[in-house]
Structures are given as C-alpha cells and as structure tokens.
Subunit: 484 residues, 2 copies
C-alpha cells in the first residue's frame, strides 16, 4: 500500500470509526461468542500473496466485531472507564505516523520534552506539590507509564534499591540477599492485585494492612504491622496507599498514613489509578490531601481523563531515586547531551526500553477540551452515579454497600451471595448492560461504574429498569426455591 492508497483507506477507516461510535449503543454491549469462536473463522496460516484492503476491511464486521466487548458503549458499566475521545484518536494517528522512539532525549527530543512539560501541566491541574514537577530545574518530574501496575512496580523497585544500599552502608557485613529476605512492602487489603504482583516480581515480602469497616486503610493498622515486623527483625520499606480502590472506590487515610511512612522511612507510593482524574475538580481535590508525604504518585488519564490507553501518569519527588535503580548505559544508547543535567532519558524511568510518542494525545486532549471541558466530564459521571445511588436507595430490596464518592456504586440485593451471583449472571446474560462484581468482606457485591464518555441519564434509567425487572423475576423464582 502506497501513500495514495493510504489517503483513501485512512479516510474510510476514519469514517468507519465515526460510524462505530455514533451507533455503538445499538450493538449488544457484551459479545455472544464462545471460547475458540475466532479460530474457526480464520485461515490456519498467513497468506503467501498480498490481500486487498477490501478483503481485510470486510472481515472486521465478520470476524472481529462479533467478539468485541464494547467498552465505549453507554451501556457498559463494568470495571472502570477506559478513556476514549476524538482528540486522542487524532493524536494517536499523528504519533503512529511519526513513528519515532523516545527512549532517550536524543532518540527524539520532542517526544521527551513534550512529555515532561505535559506532566507538569497535568500535575498543576491536580495541584500537585511543586516538588513533583520538573520545571526548569526541579529534582522531581513526571513520566508516562503504560499502566498503574508498572508505576507501582517501578516505585517498589526504586524503594528496594534505595533501602538495600542504605542498609549495606550501615551494615557492610550483610549481603544483598540477606537484606532482600528481610524487606517487607505493605498495602491495604483493598489494594489492587498489581501491588502484590509488584512485590512478587521484586522478590520481597508483601503484607496486607486490614482496612476498617469502611474499607479504608488507617494509620493505626499500619503502625501495628510495622511494630510487629520490626520486632521480628524485618525491614519495612514500602507502602502503597490507594486513593479509590478498585472494588469500591474507598480512600486510604493519607493524612494518617503519610506521617507514619515518613517517620519510619518507608517509601510512600500513591495509586490513584481511577480516582486521580477527579482531582482536577476543586471539589474533589481534598481527596488527595496528604500527597505531600509521598515519594511517588500515579493515576491513569487513560481511565477517566479522555486520553486513550495507554497513558498512566506518574510523578516522583526525586528522579534520581528512579534512575539510580535502573541506570545501565551501553554505548549505543549514549549521546552528546547525556550529562547536561537539562535533559531526561526516560528509559531509566521505566521497565521497557522503547516508548511511543504518547504525550501527543495528552497535549491534544488537554488543549481541545480545556481544563473546564474535562471537569465537566468528571462532574457528569459523578452526577450520574449519585442518580443511580438514589434509585437504589429508593428500592428497599437493595442495599448500597459502600460510600458513593465518585463514579462507582456498589450495591446488591439484600440476601445471600448465591442470590446476587445469579442476579448478576441474569443481568449480564441479557447483553444489554454489562457489570462486574467485587467482594466486600464476606459479601458478593455488584459494581455499577459510570464508564462511557457518552453515557447520559436515560442510559442509567434504562439500566435501572432492566435491573429492577430482573430483580423482580429472580426474587419470584428464588423465594419458592428457598422454601423447598
């Protein structure tokens, strides 16, 4: 395919995407396929001779779309939102077209420098303390990671390196593995599984801090764990606080936890993957209070800030801590400006070496929506979740299972877990709306997350009608069953 054909086909594809988004509400949100469906529709091996664009294009509706879960449908209420906006799509076309690598400043200066400045913009939007910004000569700064999991891992590894070096200085008789064997990382029992996974990867112990009855990690619980573990000869080194847990969007008490981390010399990482986007609204910024105690902070604009995946924003107060954990400099990656102090080689900040020009989509979205446009998007979602919460509260067959603060409502039918499991299955089997569950203590709970950029009150109302209709049917069928 040459540039001439690309002009034609690219425009067809743009129209296809515009059509897809404009009519997405008409598709069943969840696909009606069984595992292995696709292999039957596709040849056993790649063609020897080139096929035409038309041949490939017509297979999109035949082979791909029947198996797609439509995350951007206004009837998608599962997991958390995945960001999707037209300015981000435009920027991604540009990024792919340029197709440069940004692993060092020299590999493509614009790619590195736009990222640094965009992370400063975004940091200012959520009123991050100055120390986290790169500015012209700051010691901190931001970076785009692929996912919150990577941000957690990178911060845990930086903390591990720092602690091991520190202990070896004070105790030169200890080997690295002696120290590693005594390190302990902590997170709330409500933290995302990626925290446990980061500890697994880093080869260190991980302990859960029991959260309180509102699913919030508190200072007293952390202090208790630290005291016990230190008495047992262990070395606490890392705490990951969650702002907006995946299960129920609860917020760890940073103002209690932060001072303890600082006093006890623990690296404090904050994972605000979903909730972080809301901090651009002054009325939600209080949820970030205590960030000043943190070493690193992360949230995912690719969840709720209309910047398509992948775009996970991470900031550190001391970039030297990250770089120190990873820096390896073979000659083929060195360049003239390396030691100038003015520049950033982002390969030292992340797990992979290669990196796309992802800051372009941040630049496009922040400019074409403006801060106000993005605030409006957040507020619309929060308004809709409260609308749904009110509907639930007005129906006495249901209960709300955790405080609704942002765009997530955790609810269930009053009754057993089995009842609610069947209820969720019935809801999802309609393929009209899509939800996923969570576990809150012993309870099986349904999560209703406001997700799509285009979701409105009528979609929430339709979802609620469906939910109550299915509840009535289920309870009718269930009651006699219980009496048998």
């Amino acid at each position: 395919m040459d540039a001439t054909e690309f002009r034609k086909r690219g425009k067809e594809m743009v129209d296809y995407i515009a059509d897809y988004i404009e009519t997405i509400h008409k598709r069943p949100v969840y696909p009606d396929v069984e595992p292995g469906y696709l292999r039957c529709l596709i040849p056993e091996s790649a063609p020897q001779e080139p096929e035409s664009f038309e041949d490939v294009f017509k297979d999109i509706e035949r082979i791909i779309m029947p198996g797609v879960t439509h995350w951007n449908s206004p009837y998608f209420f599962a997991y958390f939102p995945v960001a999707h906006s037209f300015p981000a799509l435009l920027a991604d076309i540009l990024s792919g077209g340029i197709g440069c690598m940004g692993f060092s400043w020299a590999a493509s200066p614009a790619c590195t420098e736009l990222e640094t400045v965009m992370l400063d913009w975004l940091g200012k939007m959520i009123n991050l303390p100055e120390e986290f910004l790169a500015g012209r000569d700051g010691e901190g700064g931001g970076v785009i990671q692929g996912s919150a999991s990577e941000a957690t891992l990178v911060s845990l590894l930086a903390a591990r390196t720092k602690t091991v070096r520190c202990f070896q200085l004070e105790n030169p008789e200890l080997t690295e593995s002696d120290i590693m064997g005594r390190l302990v990382a902590y997170a709330s029992d409500m933290a995302h599984c990626s925290v446990e996974r980061a500890a697994l990867i880093g080869g260190v112990k991980m302990k859960n801090i029991p959260s309180d009855d509102k699913f919030i990690a508190r200072g007293s619980a952390l202090q208790k764990a630290l005291d016990e573990d230190k008495a047992a000869g262990l070395i606490p080194f890392f705490f990951c606080a969650t702002l907006g847990t995946t299960a129920c969007c609860s917020f760890d008490k940073l103002l209690e936890l932060g001072p303890i981390c600082n006093k006890e010399n623990l690296w404090l990482h904050i994972d605000a993957a979903y909730a972080g986007s809301s901090f651009i609204c002054p009325e939600f910024r209080y949820l970030l209070n205590g960030v000043e105690y943190a070493n690193s902070f992360n949230f995912n604009p690719h969840k709720w800030l209309l910047i398509n995946f992948d775009c996970s924003a991470m900031w550190v107060k001391k970039r030297s801590d990250l770089i120190g954990a990873f820096k390896l400099d073979p000659l083929y990656l060195q360049h003239n400006h390396q030691e100038s102090g003015l520049i950033t080689d982002y390969r030292h900040w992340q797990i992979p070496l290669g990196r796309r020009f992802r800051s372009l989509k941040m630049w496009f979205v922040l400019r074409m929506y403006g801060v106000k446009g993005l605030q409006e998007h957040i507020r619309q979602h929060v308004k809709l979740s409260h609308e749904f919460e009110q509907l639930v509260l007005q129906d006495e067959r249901f209960e709300i299972c955790s405080e609704v603060i942002l765009g997530l409502v955790c609810f269930r039918l009053k009754g057993s877990n089995e009842l609610n499991e069947e209820f969720l299955k019935n809801i999802n089997d309609t393929k009209k709306i899509h939800l996923v569950p969570c576990q809150l203590r012993e309870k099986f709970v349904l999560r209703f997350a406001i997700c799509s950029r285009t979701v409105e009150s009528n979609h929430v109302q339709l979802a609620w009608q469906l939910i109550t209709k299915l509840a009535t049917e289920l309870l009718k069928a269930w009651e006699p069953k219980q009496c048998q």
Copy 2:
C-alpha cells in the same frame, strides 16, 4: 469534538501523515535543537477553555516537528529499524477507535483470540517448532509484549519462580531468600543491557559469558562458568541467548548452548529482537536452528516486520510456567469461562494489566503484505547492507569490524578511537544522515543499519559519498595534528 468534526479532522490528519511520509527525505534527519527548546515554545499550564483543532494542528510544525528525529527517513541509519507501514497505521486507527481492554478473555474475546491465532501464524512463518504454538490444545503459545525487555524479564521471572519452587520441594529447610541469593542468570557479554536489567529487577545475580573473537557466545564458555559457579554453591537457572546482538548482529551458538541449558536445567530464553524478522526467509532460517532447546523465544515485529511499535512477539513452550509465576485472581477480574481450559487470560503473561488490541496491526500487515511481500522487504534491506559493505571494503582507509549477515554493517576508519569518535560526530553534525556507535572490545565502531521502509540504493550511495567526503576532510585535518 463530535463525530462529525472527527470525520473532517481525521481525514486532514491522514493527509498530513501521507504528506509527511512522502516528503520525509527532505527534512533534516536529526533535529537542530538544544535541550529545553520545547518548554520555551509552550504555555506554562493547560488552557482553561477549549482550543480549536486548527490551533493545535498548526503547532505540530511549529513545536513538534523541529524536535523530531525522523526514524522513518531513508537517511536514518541509527540503532535498528522501527517498523512503519500504512496497513499497520490503519489497524491502529481501528484499535484506538474500538478502544477495548484485553486483559482477560471476557474483557474482549476478539482481542485475546486474534492475538493467539496471529502468534500461531507468525510462529509458522518462521517455522517455530510445533510446541511453541497454541493451536487448539497446545501447551505453548504466543503473546504480544510491549518490548523485548519485557519478554526477557517475564521469562527470567518465570524461570526464577520455577527454580525456587523446585529447590524448596527438595530442600524444605531453605527459605525463598536463601535460594534467591544463590540464583545466577547468564548472558553473553554482547547481550542487550535489558538482560542485566531484568536480573536487577528480579533481584538475582547476573554473569556475563565472554564471547569469542567473533562476538559469539559459545558452549564451552557457558559450561566453564556453570562449573565454577556450581562448585561455589550457586544455582544457575537462566540463560539468555542473543540472535543478532545490538552492537554487531552476531549470533550466539544455539546448537552448542541449547544442549548445555537442557542438561543443566537452565531456562533458555532467546532474544532475537532485531534478527527474528529475517527468519521468515528460508535462506535465513538456519540462524534459528537450535530454538528447539529453548523454553521461550522473542523477536520484535515492531523492528523489522513493518508492524508499528509496540509489537514484541514472545512464545513459550509451557504457558503454565508463565502463568504460575504471576497468577493473582481477584473477583473483579474473574469471569465465567475462566477455568474452561480453552481460553487465555493474557494478563497472567505480562507485567502490565491493561492491554490494547495490538494483534489487529499484525493481522492487517500479514494479510496486506502477504508472506512474500514481507520477505521482499527483508531481502531488500540485506541487499543494501551488502552493497554498503562492498563500498567500505573497496576503500582501504576503512575496515569492516564484524561479519555482515543481515541489515547491519559495523565499520570504522583504520586508526584510533578518538579519530572515529570525531568522525562520527562530523557525520551526525551534518544532520544529513544519522548513525550511532558501538563498542566492540576496545574499538569504537560506527554502526550503519538499514532502517527505513523506503530506503533504496541511491540513499545508501549518497550516505557513502557523504561519509567518504567527511573522511577525507577529517584525515587531512587529523594527520598534521598527529605529527605535532
């Protein structure tokens, strides 16, 4: 921006990219900017009110392009190629437009299933042993990672988990950290720095196997290291072989190393990041002989197979080894089909949780080029590197520094490292072509890598004319300097 405006702007962006690629040879390949250039051109913070597309669009040429290193210019001969093709760009528009997440089968079945089938297609194209393919009921299979660094890390972690479990079974008195402290990973001293980094992240020792005079790791050197380390009480567990080293595209002797790894119970991972794409040509497939000894194999279609970044293909013989190293299953990520055995949850195969629909670009490229079209692309590059090699050989002021097998030529002026460092600087300062150096033993060497999809003989000839002209000037200036 609504769908109507997206239709208009998307088409403008498609035209902009087509224009960019059609005229890229007219731009200076390397940018003429100093560190910090971009911050001066951009406001201190994000705008409150939305800006128009026109405002953003005109800033692309004003702010971004002056700082871009044009990796897809036919005058770019640095690093290794980064893949770029129109079918891949079209697929990426589609992928962004759908905007689904593929962390589990249920999260979007098409996303997972197309990936599994595409990795089977690609595996067959390079004639990988059947054990690495998923098929309908295989124990192996492929996955798209973001980068070769991640593939190396994932395989090292799987090997670490497997070895620790094995040793703990046999020696229940040993703690995990006792064993971790004795584990040793190995790679050639020519291996990419990401291997050392993977060991650093995984918290295990890493030793370099000295390569021979052709920069090749040999069985005898590995065996010697293993014998010494085992005698010292260490536990060798992982070897990363490189096919096509970054510095000079040398190939470790798999047929010697593989049997040793199998005998000594080392996980053998093969990193063929650049060279792997060439194995689709029967005449280069011999370079992969010995892959049958490996546990995992990886190469980057995003380097040389016209599938835009990121698309790093990785296969394992036993998927249970990977999954066993990472699997954590909270309720909000579980789904009905989880235990069916028919399906794949790729989140257990990788570091991040989220994943884009990257197999679409593999599907588009493999179909629209066909195997033959891709073979032609590889052969064109190898032909051009031999053309350049001949030019170098015919000029007695130069020497070739390692065998030219694929698309990379390592060469230098006969003389000191200082001379060659100045030479490279002079070449790159013209910004007409762009090269990076490498270190081969004590020698500072220039790498001439055939990179762009559109590079032809005339670009190579023009590059050589520039190189010889600068050599003449430098040698003239240098000789009197040497006599002073």
